[in-house]
Symmetry: C2
Subunit: 326 residues, 2 copies
Amino acid sequence: MGVKLTDVAKRAGVSATTVSRVINHYGYLSQKTIDKVHKAMEELNYQPNSMARSLQGKDTQLIGLIFPTVSHPFFGELASKMETKLFEKGYKTILCDSANNKEKERDYLKMLAANKVDGIIAGAHNLGIPEYENVGLPIISFDRHLAEGIPIVSSDSYQGGRLATEQLYQRGGRKIAILTGTNESDSPTNKRLEGYLSVLKEHQLEPMVYHFPLEHSPFLKATEIRQILSKEDIDSIFCTDDLTAILVLNKAQELGIDIPGDLKVIGYDGTEFIQNYFPQLSTILQPIDQFVDLLIDLLMKRINNADVELDSLYQLPVRFMQGQTS
Amino acid sequence: MGVKLTDVAKRAGVSATTVSRVINHYGYLSQKTIDKVHKAMEELNYQPNSMARSLQGKDTQLIGLIFPTVSHPFFGELASKMETKLFEKGYKTILCDSANNKEKERDYLKMLAANKVDGIIAGAHNLGIPEYENVGLPIISFDRHLAEGIPIVSSDSYQGGRLATEQLYQRGGRKIAILTGTNESDSPTNKRLEGYLSVLKEHQLEPMVYHFPLEHSPFLKATEIRQILSKEDIDSIFCTDDLTAILVLNKAQELGIDIPGDLKVIGYDGTEFIQNYFPQLSTILQPIDQFVDLLIDLLMKRINNADVELDSLYQLPVRFMQGQTS
DNA sequence: CTGAAAGCGCTAACAC
DNA sequence: GTGTTAGCGCTTTCAG
């Protein structure tokens, strides 16, 4: 293998301990020794072996990130920002795309434990993974209940759902449909649905709910959307994610439906990507930067003190962003 | 810490060696012993410590992925697919967003070396990082020259540039502009530019080249595009990435420019994301799946045998995908 | 077929 | 201020 601590020690004419002390800024060292060691390290281009170091029980400075997939703009952005901030704090990120696959998520959890990561941030969307109950590792969850004692960072999906629906109502919408994911209780999209339902109820309107299973390809979804748009009598659509909203916009255009004249559309997520490349879309903005800050803050707290009391739910506010589709 | 090998040994009433053998399917064991050990491992919910294991010089099963940022759909898709395939092969992925930052990329390189990753796949876009010269680790590069002896996997950007430009010409384009990145020699977008220039030359047309520095925000880019569209006399635009093409489409719509009537647009990349959510965009398809397969194949070869002879450049073909913008 | 013992590269009492 | 020594959790000769 490469250059090791003892090589440096030999070259600097000191003991391994001394080198270790220099590296870890620990104990009393004479400036002369420090310089000697530094010189030797540079000459040999020495890199400490993190494996050996974490064997002593030192932190690995490794954080596991479990998300459905970074190929989705929302999670891509979240992952990218998490990675950046973690790196600034001296952590490396192990990326785990759970791909909405329970088995894979379980495997990852095991793997992360074996790799002795210092902590995990999990934002995947699989339910019922008992392993989370006793990983014995600091974990913070994004937007989903994992297990007792694991804090959840999320935004106020119920209010988000209400906000979007209210907007559509205020702009004259009376036949307001919702396009959303599968009907799992406890998923964030389901809370958005509840918000929608509550507003419709207040205005005594008939809900029109369309569920799209996660497994459905965008192409299939698009086809179904086309069906809905051409057959049903709808004047407004609330999509519980922006990508679905884009599909609606595309299909509406194909069908010659005027937006927002004949149909108003509001999405959900409001990533920077959407704001940059789809500024016309009205949407509910999730506070991604704040998610990142909070998730990392909480994780650091847990890492530094496994017993800190944390709230079980942190709910950040969302905002409506007016585009031209509503 | 957690349960360790000796705990399992004690519980199974055997030596540590035996447990190690069972785990590594190594040497002669009686079925009885194997069963005993497995039983003990399960009862204790034992996870081998990968740190300790890789200390003996065993592989870490860790691969470093260096890309500009997974928040970009192209790299998000690439990273996600790489991660998936690597996981299937038993590798974990350390994600490194270089963020177009040379310093960060260097730091990452050091960090990956310290973490004894088995190999690296680097597709970042920073030039002149001498550290690549002697990482002493298997590396495969995506779409960029890193150092002597590091194989490059890329697609045929020159042909891609030609293909796009030819298409525009065949559809009647005579005032064909190109929107591209900064003018770094050796970058893939620059090869696309060369392809464009060669076609224009063949047809004796005047090139119209617009460079956008990487640092420019999409918003700034959009403003500049609006300028160009309203002031210049252009009938076709080749954008060397799809996102820029989307910006053009947006601004053209704002300005009431008919597409493809008044202006034809062709993008570049053709991610699944674009194909799903922007099917109307004509674009040049990069073979992402083949990139992934080839990158990983080559890396595995280097990992298994540091001295295998590999070509210095693997160039995959691109395809034109007809949408409605050209 | 199984175990004892040495050692991977590094750190941390404990001495001097 | 600095070195000696033991040991982190695991693998691997070498014996038996």
